[in-house]
């Protein structure tokens, strides 16, 4: 960890400083404005949102970093994961814990297979036409959304009971919260650490990082880069699906969910720098916190929670203008 900070480039060191200062400012503002308890609740909500956004954004960022494909279908993957998970969770005849695990496994596998088919069948032939790749993922996202609506109906699905072993409450900042929220944060942190370890401590991770640097060179070394591409795409899709399933007991499943999280994830990777894993992780939390604080602020002062949407976009505009390659992106 210490060596990490010692080896930072000046730009990244400045970005770290900016992030820390910004988060401190956010927390200070919310503490002054809302008081201790509400500020704590807001921060907790922000971190929770950040973890959920991270699950979509990390896939987006990994896929873009390695494949140079901006996968606009990532939101659709989250949506399909959520709906398939919902389907399995409600239709199985077993205890809640078993059903929840079954929902996770089936949703992740379903979306993973879908991602594999998409990458090998549709995206792979288009590597020499990058514009069409973007357009294809964008169009596919719309088509998938339509199909989900056609199959599951336009009505939003109500949030389900969390699985039995998490169906208890605890008190934090004077507010009774379900353990399920802690579980989401735990899941997000596990993903963060897990993908970090995968990238930094395994052979595949080395190949992926090398591929991000220069995929042709990796191929020249005799490694099947295309297979790694597919793997990363599947990994990204599966992470998004996992985020979707995690949302089901918390928010239910709605058709708007996919695009909503896609926009958040886009903001995250723009702020964090496309293709940078640490940037994505940090930016998710920053975006989550910003959004939660803005929501609370606009609720208390203007009675208009929509303004929170604008705050995220403003943050993105500012970062884009100050540093077009993102806080932790590669300098161009």
């Amino acid at each position: 960890m210490l060596t990490y900070f010692a080896n930072l480039s000046p730009q990244h060191r400045r970005s770290w400083g900016l992030v820390v200062a910004y988060v401190a400012l956010l927390l200070a503002v919310s503490y002054v404005d809302f008081g201790y308890n509400t500020a704590g609740q807001t921060a907790f909500r922000g971190i929770l949102l950040g973890m959920l956004v991270f699950m979509v954004a990390s896939g987006l960022s990994l896929i873009f970093g390695l494949l140079d494909v901006l996968n606009f279908a990532q939101g659709a993957f989250l949506l399909i994961g959520a709906y398939v998970g919902y389907d399995v969770y409600t239709s199985l005849d077993a205890g809640t814990t078993v059903r929840f695990l079954a929902a996770i496994v089936s949703g992740v596998v379903f979306v993973g297979v879908l991602g594999a088919i998409m990458e090998t069948g549709l995206i792979r032939p288009l590597y020499d036409r990058p514009v069409f790749q973007i357009v294809l993922t964008f169009g596919l996202a719309a088509v998938l959304l339509d199909l989900v609506e056609r199959y599951y109906g336009p009505d939003p699905k109500q949030p389900l009971d969390p699985p039995g072993f998490l169906d208890n409450n605890f008190t934090l900042f004077d507010q009774s919260l379900s353990y399920y929220r802690l579980f989401i944060i735990f899941l997000g942190l596990t993903m963060m650490v897990g993908v970090f370890l995968l990238l930094n401590r395994t052979r595949i991770g080395i190949i992926i990082r090398a591929g991000v640097q220069d995929s042709e060179m990796v191929q020249a070394l005799g490694i099947n880069v295309r297979l790694i591409f597919t793997l990363v795409f599947v990994l990204g899709a599966a992470l998004a699906a996992l985020g979707g399933i995690a949302l089901v007991p918390y928010q239910g499943a709605t058709l708007e969910m996919g695009n909503q999280f896609l926009i958040l994830a886009i903001v995250v990777i723009v702020i964090g720098g496309m293709g940078s894993y640490e940037g994505t992780a940090i930016a998710s939390i920053v975006v989550g916190l910003t959004r939660a604080v803005a929501e609370q602020l606009s609720l208390e002062h203007f009675d208009a929670p929509v303004l929170a949407e604008t705050s995220i976009l403003l943050l993105m505009i500012v970062v884009l203008l100050v540093q077009p390659s993102g806080l932790f992106g590669r300098e161009e």
Partner: protein, 533 residues
């Protein structure tokens, strides 16, 4: 490769300008001869209500607005508004290479700004508008590389427009509202263009998407119900003022509105064509082909891109207004800002052919009218292809066929390995019986197997789906399948026809002509050699 239209226009520019009467007559005749297809199309569009009326034996302007002719007038006008949207998207995506995923913002802005201004106008807005104009100029000055003269001109135009369009007191007329909508779309596209066009393609795409989504959320939310009407949208009953009289017989009836739409469509088409063949448009195409090179030559590519974006934004705004008048019964809903109106023109331009003028027109009209037609028709479950396959089974066959087509290369390599293996064995077994018959039999067997597999899978899964989905009785219509069909069409076009329908057609004929020329050159070449020797 030059498309047919580009070639025509190139020929037009090559003409010598002859100011005499005879010269003018000649140019007019040439114009008609070279554009006969477009003229025919416009005439058919103009007579379209009468043609439908003749075919279906209904009235063009019945006392009660029912009947096929009236229905198709509305549908056609709606489709034409969408066509203008697709053309403006294609101008941005196909001709300047800028991928914007926020085109719905302009589309929705048309209705929203006009209606909000009509409903909400207050004289004090004039000062606000002046501040906005000055703000835009300042932003342009800060972020663009425009020189002082260009900036001054823009500021001057802005101030003049503000003073002209916004009276000091009282309410605004319809024209002023439309004018303000246009000014607003210019402002939005200028600001977003100046802020974001410096970004690389992908950042730009993401930014526009986020921006449009944000406005959609804002328009939908109940917070601004006073201004936007939230989910209900904004309405305005008498959108055209009494004084609107382009022709003596104009009375604001449906037929007149239809003709107004056709006129708008023709103007947009000519404007885009004119724009593309102006020096600015040529630079635009150069930027699409190679931005680095265009910049090296000395063009301020950024300036041209902002200009094109503004132009496309204005067209999208106007077509959005037209669409609101036609499709949603003089009400603008938040849906007009939703992703649908970015995806629709994108799909239509791609299917028709990006970078072609006629592609989006053909695709939008075909798909939009085709959808309307098919949605109104009903089919029973038993009628399908030759009474064997129901429509669902047919759909599954198509999907599985598509998957097979996409994976044909890996499948074929695998198969070739098997074939090689088998051939080696048979060759070993019958050393003297050589020949390729075994090979062909295998290939035939393979394709036969594939077809059988497709049929089997289609029959099983198709009937499975048909049984599991609930239809209204035995009758259902195509709306259940339309999105699937559109998705498959989209994927096929992106994968197999990157130039779209019109682009592929043009390429095919251009290649053929080149081949013919080469052949005739080869035939005439030996003669020259003989005479020389």
């Amino acid at each position: 490769m030059m498309s047919m239209i580009e070639r025509t226009i190139y020929a037009n520019t090559q003409k010598i300008k002859d100011p005499t009467l005879r010269g003018l007559a000649e140019s007019a005749a040439r114009l008609v001869l070279e554009n006969w297809a477009y003229l025919l199309f416009v005439i058919v569009l103009w007579r379209f209500p009468y043609i439908v009326a003749d075919l279906t034996d209904t009235e063009v302007q019945p006392r009660r607005p029912t009947g096929d002719s009236v229905f198709w007038q509305s549908e056609m006008a709606r489709a034409l508004a969408l066509t203008c949207l697709a053309m403006s998207y294609n101008l941005l995506f196909g001709f300047s290479g800028v991928i914007s995923f926020g085109h719905a913002l302009f589309f929705g802005a048309g209705g929203y700004v006009t209606f909000i201004v009509l409903n909400e106008y207050d004289a004090s807005y004039q000062q606000g508008a002046l501040i906005v104009v000055i703000g835009i100029t300042l932003i342009l000055a800060l972020f663009s590389r425009m020189n002082v003269r260009q900036l001054l001109i823009i500021a001057l135009i802005g101030v003049l427009l503000t003073l002209l369009l916004m009276p000091g007191e009282g309410t605004l007329s319809f024209y002023q509202a439309i004018g303000l909508a246009v000014v607003a779309s210019i402002a939005v596209s200028l600001i977003s263009g100046v802020v974001t066009l410096r970004l690389r393609g992908i950042y730009f795409a993401m930014f526009t998407l986020a921006l449009a989504e944000m406005f959609w959320v804002l328009a939908k939310s109940g917070t601004f119900r006073d201004i936007t009407g939230a989910e209900d949208g904004l309405g305005f009953r008498d959108i055209l003022p009494e004084s609107f009289n382009p022709t003596p017989t104009f009375d604001g009836s449906r037929l007149d509105m239809y003709r107004l739409t056709v006129v708008f469509f023709v103007i947009v088409f000519i404007a885009i064509r004119r724009y593309l063949n102006s020096p600015v448009g040529r630079v635009m195409i150069a930027i699409r082909e190679n931005e680095e090179r265009a910049r090296t030559i000395g063009y301020n590519t950024f300036y041209y891109k902002v200009l094109t974006m503004t132009f496309a934004g204005v067209i999208a705004t106007l077509s959005g207004l037209l669409f609101v008048i036609w499709a949603t019964d003089k009400r603008v809903h938040p849906e007009a800002l939703s992703l649908k109106y970015t995806v629709d023109p994108l799909l239509n331009s791609l299917i028709g052919g990006i970078g072609t003028l006629t592609g989006p027109v053909i695709a939008t009209l075909g798909l939009s009218l085709g959808e309307t037609y098919l949605r109104n028709e009903t089919f029973t479950l038993d009628t399908g292809l030759f009474g064997i396959l129901t429509v669902w089974q047919l759909a599954v066959v198509l999907v599985v066929g598509l998957v097979w087509w996409l994976f044909r290369r890996p499948l074929q390599t695998g198969l070739r390995r098997v074939v090689d293996m088998v051939r080696r064995d048979t060759a070993r077994a019958a050393t003297f019986a050589s020949g390729t018959h075994g090979h062909w039999a295998l290939i035939l067997g393979y394709y036969g197997l594939v077809v059988l597999l497709l049929l089997a899978v289609g029959l099983v899964i198709g009937s499975e789906i048909a049984h599991n989905l609930e239809f209204k009785g035995d009758v259902y219509n195509v709306s259940d399948l339309w999105e699937l069909f559109l998705g498959i069409l989209f994927v096929v076009v992106v994968m197999a026809l990157p130039h779209g329908i019109v682009g592929t057609w043009n390429t095919f004929w251009a290649n053929r002509r080149v081949r013919r020329l080469e052949q005739s050159a080869q035939q005439s070449a030996p003669k020259g050699n003989n005479s020389a020797s």
